[in-house]
C-alpha cells in the first residue's frame, strides 16, 4: 500500500504564543517549530500500516523551505522518502489541498493520512477539501482504522459528538487522525542518522501550476479578552457562600 502523509510544521503547542505589537503576526523568533501533533499520529499510523501490509510511506509538506527539519523528523520516525513543495509563505486550506491533490495524483497513492487539524490555525479543513478535490471518500477524526481482507476498503471509527461512529470507505481515501488513534514513536538515533540520507525532493510551487491566490486571508491578530482571574478563597465554606451571594450562580 502506498501511503501519503501530509505534515505541517507548527510552533510548539506547549508554549504560549505572543502577538506582534502591530498585530501583523505571531512572534516566532524563540519558539521551537515541531511536527503538528496530529500529523505525528498520522505518520505513526502510516508506519504501522506499512509494517503490517508492506508498501511505502511518503511524507509531504507544503510551505517554506525551513519545514525540511520537521520533514526529517518524520523520516527519522521511519517514513521512506519525502516531498517538500516549497512555497514562500503559509498558504490557505484551499491552496494547500489543491497542491496536495497534485502530489497525490503524481504519486498514485492508495491512502492519504493527515492530522485532523493544525494546532496553529486550528482550521480542521485540508483533509476534507482534498477529498472533495480528488473525488475520494473521507474519514475524519479517526480513532481506529481496519482494512478489509482485500485492502480495498477500510472501516474507520470516528470520534464524533455524542460518541463514536464507524464508516466504511473505499480506497483510495483521505483519513484524518484524532488523538486517540495511536501513540507516536520517538525517532531513534539510528533513525535520525538514516533520515539524513533519505530522499527529500524539493518541488517549487510554481512548477505545479496550481492557483494558490489566498481565499481566506488573516488580516491581523489580536489578543483575546483577558480574564481578571486570580481570585482566591480560604475554604469550601467561603467558596460556596461566594458562589451564592457574589457570583450568584447557585
Amino acid at each position: 500500500m502506498k501511503i501519503l502523509v501530509a505534515i505541517k510544521p507548527v510552533p510548539n503547542p506547549d508554549e504560549k504564543v505572543k502577538i506582534k505589537g502591530d498585530g501583523s503576526g505571531i512572534v516566532l523568533d524563540n519558539i521551537k517549530m515541531v511536527v503538528n501533533p496530529f500529523c505525528e499520529i498520522a505518520v505513526e499510523e502510516a508506519l504501522r500500516i506499512r509494517e503490517k501490509l508492506t508498501g511505502e510511506v511518503v511524507v509531504v509538506t507544503v510551505g517554506p523551505k525551513e519545514g525540511e527539519q520537521q520533514v526529517r523528523t518524520a523520516l527519522a520516525m521511519g517514513a521512506d522518502r519525502a516531498v517538500l513543495v516549497e512555497a514562500g509563505t503559509d498558504l490557505d486550506s484551499l491552496a494547500v489541498a489543491k497542491v496536495l491533490a497534485k502530489v497525490v495524483a503524481d504519486e498514485k497513492a492508495d491512502l492519504v493520512l493527515m492530522g485532523k487539524q493544525a494546532v496553529d490555525d486550528d482550521n480542521n479543513q485540508v483533509g476534507q477539501i482534498l477529498a472533495a478535490v480528488l473525488g475520494w471518500p473521507q474519514a475524519t477524526f479517526a480513532s481506529k482504522i481496519e482494512f478489509a481482507a482485500d485492502n480495498r476498503k477500510a472501516n474507520v471509527t470516528r470520534e464524533v459528538d455524542g460518541g463514536l461512529e464507524t464508516i466504511e470507505v473505499a480506497l483510495p481515501a483521505v483519513v484524518t487522525t484524532d488523538l486517540r488513534l495511536n501513540e507516536p514513536r520517538y525517532a531513534s538515533l539510528p533513525g535520525i542518522m538514516k533520515a539524513k540520507k533519505k530522499e527529500l525532493k524539493v518541488v517549487p510551487l510554481a512548477s505545479l501550476g496550481v492557483d494558490t491566490a489566498p481565499r481566506v486571508k488573516v488580516l491581523s491578530y489580536a489578543a483575546p479578552k483577558q480574564r481578571a482571574g486570580g481570585g482566591r478563597v480560604a475554604d469550601v465554606a467561603e467558596l460556596v457562600s461566594k458562589l451564592k451571594s457574589e457570583a450568584k450562580v447557585l
Binding site: 471518500p137 464524533v160 459528538d161 473505499a170 488573516v218 489580536a222 483575546p224 460556596v240 458562589l243 450562580v249
Partner: protein
C-alpha cells in the same frame, strides 16, 4: 447580498440546539449585508426536525428527504448542500462548528471552490468589507479574517452567539429535490455515550476533572457533585488519555469548546490546550493542590486544597444550602 443558508444539525430525528446559535450568526450577517436566512434540513423522515427549524425565525425551511440521507455522510451532505446553494444562488452557508459541521463544510468548500472560515466568533463590517473573527493558536490569538470569492462558508462557535429565540410565526416548509452521491462512503454503526446528564456544550454548569482525580472510580465523586448542581461532566485530556473518562467528555482545543455559567475544574492544571476550551465560561472555580497551577490565573475563585477533601465538603455545603 444574496440569501443565506443554515444547515440544520439533528440526531435520530431530534433537532440539535446548536443550530440556534448558527441561525443567530446567519442573521448577524444578514443584518450587515442584507439577504434572507433560510434553513436546510436533510434526512429521512425528518418532517419533525423541519417543524422545529420553522420556529427559529428563518424565512423558510427547505426539506430534502430521502433514504440516502437517513444516516449522515460527509459526501452525501456536502453534495446535497452544494445543489441547494447553486439552485437558490445562496451567497453564504452556515453550519455549527460541531463534528458534524467540521466534517462536511470543508468538503463543501472543496466542491464549490469556496472560502471557509472555521469556528467563527464574530462578524463585522469595515467600510464595505466583511470581516470575520476566529480563534487561532488554541484561542491565544483572535484572527481577523477576510474571505475572497464566494459563496462564503462559515462554521460557527456555538458559545459565541446567543441562541435564536424559538416560537413566533412558523416559517413555511418547502420540499427540495436533492440527489445523493456517496463517493465510496457507507455508514456502518454508531455507538452513543449514554448519559442522563445535560449535554456538555449546552449545560449551565460543568464539573470537570483532570489528572488530579487519579482513577476512574474517583469520578463517582465528580458525578455526585454534578448531580447536586444538575451539571454536565467534563474532563481534561490527561483524564481522557488515562482512560478514566470517555473521549467525548474532553474539554479543550481538540475536544469541546464550552462556556457555561459555572465551570468547576477539579485537579486540572490548566494547560494551554484545556484553557482554549473553557476560558469563556462566566465563572470559573479551580480546586487544586498545586498553588502554582496555571488554572488559578483564570479562576474567579481558586481554592488550594486536596480535591478529595474539598469536594465532599462542597457536597455537604450544597446539601445544606438545598435543604435551607
Amino acid at each position: 447580498m444574496a440569501d443565506i443558508l443554515v444547515v440544520v444539525e439533528h440526531q435520530e430525528g431530534v433537532f440539535k440546539k446548536n443550530t440556534l446559535s448558527v441561525v443567530s450568526a446567519a442573521k448577524a450577517l444578514a443584518g450587515l449585508t442584507g439577504g434572507e436566512v433560510d434553513a436546510l434540513v436533510l434526512g429521512d423522515s425528518v418532517a419533525a426536525v423541519a417543524g422545529v427549524a420553522a420556529g427559529t425565525g428563518v424565512r423558510k425551511v427547505l426539506l430534502g428527504e430521502g433514504a440516502a440521507f437517513g444516516k449522515y455522510l460527509a459526501s452525501t451532505y456536502a453534495g446535497a448542500v452544494a445543489q441547494v446553494v447553486k439552485a437558490g444562488a445562496y451567497g453564504a452557508v452556515f453550519a455549527p462548528a460541531s463534528t458534524f459541521g467540521k466534517d462536511f463544510m470543508p468538503r463543501l468548500s472543496g466542491l464549490l471552490d469556496a472560502p471557509l472560515a472555521s469556528d467563527i466568533v464574530g462578524l463585522e463590517k469595515v467600510g464595505d468589507a466583511l470581516r470575520v473573527k476566529r480563534p487561532m493558536y488554541a484561542g491565544n490569538a483572535i484572527g481577523t479574517v477576510e474571505l475572497v470569492g464566494g459563496p462564503l462558508l462559515f462554521t460557527v462557535r456555538q458559545t459565541a452567539f446567543d441562541a435564536a429565540a424559538m416560537g413566533g410565526a412558523k416559517a413555511p416548509v418547502e420540499k427540495v429535490a436533492v440527489t445523493a452521491e456517496a463517493w465510496g462512503m457507507a455508514f456502518v454503526s454508531r455507538q452513543e455515550t449514554k448519559s442522563e446528564r445535560p449535554e456538555l456544550t449546552e449545560a449551565r454548569m460543568i464539573v470537570s476533572a483532570g489528572r488530579g482525580i487519579k482513577a476512574q472510580e474517583n469520578f463517582k465523586l465528580v458525578e455526585e457533585l454534578a448531580d447536586l448542581l444538575n451539571a454536565a461532566i467534563g474532563a481534561s485530556r490527561a483524564a481522557v488519555d488515562a482512560g478514566w473518562a470517555p473521549n467525548d467528555w474532553q474539554v479543550g482545543q481538540t475536544g469541546k469548546i464550552v462556556a457555561p455559567e459555572l465551570y468547576i475544574a477539579l485537579g486540572i492544571s490548566g494547560a494551554i490546550q484545556h484553557l482554549a476550551g473553557m476560558k469563556d465560561s462566566k465563572v470559573i472555580v479551580a480546586i487544586n493542590k498545586d498553588e502554582e497551577a496555571p488554572i488559578f490565573q483564570v479562576a474567579d475563585y481558586g481554592l488550594v486544597a486536596d480535591l478529595f477533601k474539598a469536594v465532599p465538603e462542597m457536597i455537604a455545603e450544597l446539601k445544606k444550602l438545598k435543604s435551607a
